[in-house]
Amino acid sequence: MTTQTLTQTGTRANEGFVAIAVAAMLGLGLVFLAGFSPASALHNAAHDFRHTQNFPCH
């Protein structure tokens, strides 16, 4: 019982680290895509969103 609990806790901590890292990277990527990507088509598509959310634009 004790061993099982410890193993589970260890796995959970490790899994938690991976989940946080993946979520953070994915989040940064999406925010970059919507707010900062210099590609002209992406800029034009997100133009009004960028202005409203105060991302530096143009």
Partner: protein, 249 residues
């Protein structure tokens, strides 16, 4: 845990995007479109003024003065009306899910079990870091009033957002005198260093329009964050294992 985090972020980002896209279309998009009209009228002799007013809105044309080479190949832009609204909604969705993922990652990394209340608290911090603090130096701008080079503004924006976020972490979560002092220094430093120059050139754009836009922009940013925080906390609880809901909450 990854699935739970991604699911909660997707749900929160989607809900916030639906609400905030409505606010954007009702409150800020009309001001942006109005500003683009002033901008194209205000530059006689430029390519934008010579070209007949197209049925699509001059997102790029309005800025044609900066890059004369782009005349040959017109860059893609969404058509006026519905397509432009849809792409604004899509960008809001992408941004909202991105912010929700970051919010969730920060909450879990700092060991806070997400709930609607805690989510809201972190969301307020997120609003302060990425909306309010950068807006002190670079106020939300309508098209046509930008002064400093884009890269300088983006770098200052990112530095300010990162420093403010770290400052809030040191003050609110670490919470001992030395980190509170360090946090205050981090929050103030970007503003002492100074933001890139704000446009001081005369513009045809009425000042009232610009002021209205800045206020509405910050209000919308606050709603965006608040909904993301509340919804992420709620969704995290909903997607959690039923048996552990009481024990871990």
């Amino acid at each position: 845990m990854l699935i739970r985090l991604l699911s909660a972020a997707l749900a929160a980002g989607f809900l916030a995007a639906v609400l905030v896209t409505g606010l954007e279309l009702a409150l800020t998009s009309p001001l942006i479109i109005a500003a683009e009209r002033y901008e194209t009228q205000a530059t006689p002799g430029s390519a934008a003024a010579v070209a007949p007013m197209p049925d699509r809105l001059p997102i790029v044309l309005a800025h044609a003065g900066h890059d004369h080479d782009s005349k040959a190949a017109p860059e893609w832009q969404p058509g006026a009306g519905l397509p432009r609204m849809l792409f604004t909604g899509l960008a809001t969705l992408v941004g909202g899910i991105g912010y929700a993922l970051l919010l969730g990652a920060v909450m879990l990394a700092t060991g806070r079990e997400p709930s609607p209340e805690r989510g809201l608290a972190f969301a307020v911090a997120g609003f302060l870091a990425v909306a309010l603090a950068p807006a002190l130096g670079l106020p939300p701008e309508l098209p046509g009033s930008e002064a400093a080079p884009l890269v300088a503004r983006q770098v200052w924006w990112l530095m300010t957002a990162a420093a403010t976020a770290m400052g809030i972490y040191l003050i609110a979560i670490r919470r001992v005198p030395i980190t509170i002092l360090g946090g205050l220094v981090l929050i103030v430093a970007p503003h002492l260093a100074g933001a890139p120059e704000v446009a001081a050139t005369p513009s045809e754009l009425p000042a009232g329009l610009a002021a209205q836009f800045a206020a509405r922009s910050l209000a919308i940013a606050f709603v965006f964050w608040a909904v993301i925080g509340l919804a992420f906390g709620r969704a995290w609880q909903t997607f959690g294992p039923k048996t552990a809901a009481g024990a871990r909450g």
